[in-house]
Symmetry: C2
Subunit: 131 residues, 2 copies
DNA sequence: GAGATGTATTGACAATCATCGATATAGTCT
DNA sequence: AGACTATATCGATGATTGTCAATACATCTC
């Protein structure tokens, strides 16, 4: 039963989707990029990985995996796994130099994610202010 | 083995953590709010919940649960569960009016999250520009 | 070539999570 | 009071995920 079809009870008394405001509210955006954003967000929605991102964001350059591993009470394969998740999401760059591997933050990818989230906030403001 | 202790191989040839740049790179931030951020990010790192957030952000006002449920090929208890996750994370406000429950985006909480992520980006810039 | 070292991959396991059906709760209407 | 409706909660189940030990791979040194 859609909002606009309620015709009794308090439902119609409350001027929410009535008064011509946002009539298409019930239409889900079905944003085609939604799944990409979910992948990016899932990648950083983990305490270990977010802490790695913080390390990378605070560094002026790449960080050696060996310097990341020592910061956690986790095994080396586990850290390697988390780095792979970040890699697969495209959030980090990596480069092998000799025996060591260096990771750095992929700024454009991170910016796309934050831009998307900020866009959601401004969408609310616009919707609220446009009437 | 810490980065600064490498004394052979190509490791020391690359001027990354040397040259006095970001010597504390190996010190993880241990941000006390990190777990809060993980909770917020986990809440929206799901296709159903992110789509709900998109709906709420695009609406000028609260949205009735009944109008959310119809947009998904999911059972009503499942939608209710996802709304509870968003509620527990503090990302949405909700209000019961008569028989219906209305949800809206908790803008300050959402702004805190986006602000945190934007802060990570500027931290990179600062670190990179400060030398 | 042989040994040593840093990192990635594999396979297994326990924990978490998304989903569902059934049920409970709370409000409305007759 | 009783029927009805919208939403939340509960319990179970299959899928996903974080972690580890073992192993593989690549590179360096001798």
């Amino acid at each position: 039963m859609t909002a606009s079809r309620h015709n009794n009870g308090e439902r119609t008394v409350i001027p929410l989707q009535v008064a011509g405001c946002c009539d298409d509210v019930a239409t889900a955006p079905r944003n085609p990029r939604l799944n990409e954003q979910v992948k990016l967000l899932s990648a950083i929605a983990d305490p270990t990985r977010l802490r790695i991102i913080e390390m990378l964001s605070g560094a002026c350059d790449s960080i050696c995996v060996c310097d990341i591993t020592t910061q956690f009470d986790l095994g080396q394969p586990t850290i390697s796994h988390h780095l792979k998740v970040l890699r697969d999401a495209g959030l980090v760059n990596w480069e092998k130099r000799g025996l060591w591997v260096y990771y750095s933050l992929n700024r454009p990818a991170f910016e796309e994610m934050t831009g998307y989230l900020s866009g959601l906030l401004s969408a609310t403001q616009l919707a609220g202010a446009s009437r």
